[in-house]
Subunit: 219 residues, 4 copies
DNA sequence: AATGAATGAGAATTCATTCAT
DNA sequence: TATGAATGAATTCTCATTCAT
């Protein structure tokens, strides 16, 4: 109070525009996590890339895992919003389900890197963070499963396999495209995604053969 | 124990003689990696659980990653052997493909924990180990894909989706059952696995509806 | 806010006006320092508990140590005031000394928590703060010692032990009651305090035995 | 004792003689903790002073607090051993009690620095370490208290003050000599200690005055 | 075939404090 | 009379690995 450290006029700002640190951190972390993996990326590297200090990072995020969680939750929230919108549409359920499936494909394509990181590192999180995310993830899953159920009731989707299994299968087949998809392969991610939806809907069986009784594949 | 890993003629023992430290290490590591993850398990914890010393571990394994790799390669080798045998059988391709699919399910069920570890941690390995495993993994994949191709040629599997995509989809759907399967749920793993094969073969579409022209689900 | 802390006529405000942040800070810090220790309490925790911001704390106190020092100096000032008053009384020295001793007991009982903090953390302070407090503390000590000396001269207190040792012993025995006193034990703090004064005055020797010549305990 | 840390012939030592790291660490830590305080001493400083690496320190001690605890427990064990021996002697209880008191004084004098550290920092320890030490500390206290009780029963020590209070008072008066004793003052520590035992035994009252009825100090 | 003390580099995190507003 | 984002240096601790024995 007795010390007037700074005159009224401040000639120039020291660093970046105020309040932008958080964004830089998220951007840098997303990029680094995606490229090198969560565990292999040190907090030091993140702050260096974001051009902020460690203190700033810990001002915004309580821990490295909270940072990871934050990134994922934003993604998840966006995707959930989209799915909820599609599911609440008023077209026939078959169309809504199909649109939902394609939406998952699109979203996965757009955020392949982040989702890959998540898939590999979620198990490292402490319970606190894991729990919150699990609830949100579950909400997303339930939304999709309810759509599948609606389709089963409407006779559009086979009812001899539980909606839960159908949902998990589809979502995890997509959620792991990162393990084998190569951007420089013959197909774009979206093409692959559409083939995948096709497989999911019709199965691998050649059309000619379609569903004869006593099929051994029915086990 | 029930598996005779030892062919009649073995010129020299491959590795560990009578009940040695090596086995304890592998057992302990498998269990810990599965329970806590590879990165979260320290070498110290492994040797404590295996009741051996660090020196012993480094006597048998050059590094922590070599230990992880060893565990996975043994699994992979066994699975590849079985698949090769099935693929080389002389029944109709449809049956061989189906048997192969069920075999993947069974094997996955038996080694869920180890496979989970692998799925999460493979990306952490140094190039040297990664490369060797990738080659073997690729061999397994190719074996399966060739079977799919054979089935496509025979008109048993639809040919409008690449055999590679079909293979990856099936394998990764199965490879990620660990993310959602709960042993105390209503279905056993094997039941889930069979439903999964069913889905894979016939798709989710309700039979009645089967493949009408101009289906919107066909995009 | 509901409390009118403001007497009608106050020439100038000493410090905090109406229910200000300063009081919340002192209250919160006292409580936290007492419960968790000075070093283990972060400035962040203090401001959270006081429901003010860091800036506010640093507005009122130059540093964390100044905050600690402030708390202690207020206590010390109060106690010194009381002691000075008692010492300056006009009763016989024996009575004044006894009253002083009981006053220490009462005051210690009332401020056990804060005094504990001080005893544990004073050594951490930077020289500047340490010095100021040391002088005041010394003044308090000297006041008590002078009373003891007066009592020695008057033949009320034994003269074969230095007044300084007597003073320190008594004050430090009391100053460390916190290490062993439990509020839920059989005695109240005040009862313990009185026993302590009794011990201090008469010693532990059984009265019957009192002071025979050549007592081995005198060694 | 059973371990001969020093092999007869060692061609050349890389650094210090094998296995000596632990001792260097304890020595360095004791010295630094005593001089600068526990919290103010960093692990870095300890290893620098001990000429070992951080890893070595953490090989021998699980944490900084474990190191502190170890130092104190050794001290406590030694003191307890001595006290037990004295208490179990076969002289009259008055003599044994007196010997015990002097032993505390001697031991405190010898280890003033370490005990000071402990007094100031014990409250920082995590529960695990605190608990173990508390039990041992309690054992020491009980040993002393039992001796006091025995003396009370024998009529050597006044019985109107609980043995527990007597014990605590004496032990904590001594345990806090560090707060006021200056080595360059007029008295040696041992002299002060003996005066203290004298005070403890006979009280501050001048002999002539001894215990008249209705003494106000008895309140 | 194994020991286990020691390494050394680097990890995440904390924290009192500052300062533009 | 505050605010709170940002600092930056220090802190404790971890861990895979080595190596003399």
């Amino acid at each position: 109070m007795t010390v007037a450290t700074e005159p009224a006029v401040t000639p120039e700002r020291r660093r970046a525009p105020r309040g932008s640190a958080r964004q830089s951190i998220v951007a840098a972390a997303t990029e680094l996590f995606a490229r090198r993996g969560y565990e292999a990326t040190s907090v030091q590297e993140i702050v260096a890339a974001a051009e902020v200090t460690k203190g700033a990072l810990y001002h915004w995020f309580g821990s490295k895992s909270e940072l990871l969680t934050s990134i994922y939750r934003e993604l998840l929230a966006e995707q959930t919003r989209q799915l909820a919108e599609i599911a609440a549409g008023d077209g026939p359920v078959r169309e809504r389900l199909h649109a939902a499936a394609l939406d998952v494909v699109e979203h996965t394509a757009e955020h392949l890197a982040e989702l890959t990181v998540w898939a590999r590192s979620a198990h490292l999180l402490d319970d606190e963070h894991a729990e919150a995310t699990r609830r949100e993830r579950r909400r997303y899953h339930d939304l999709f499963r309810d759509l599948v159920r609606e389709a089963q009731v409407a006779g559009v989707v086979r009812a001899d396999v539980s909606a839960t299994v159908v949902t998990h299968t589809f979502l995890s087949a997509l959620g792991n495209v990162h393990t084998w998809f190569h951007p420089d392969g013959p197909l774009t991610f979206t093409e692959v995604g559409h083939q995948l939806v096709g497989l999911f809907v019709d199965g691998v069986r050649a059309p000619a053969e379609s569903a004869p009784a006593g099929d051994p594949a029915r086990g």
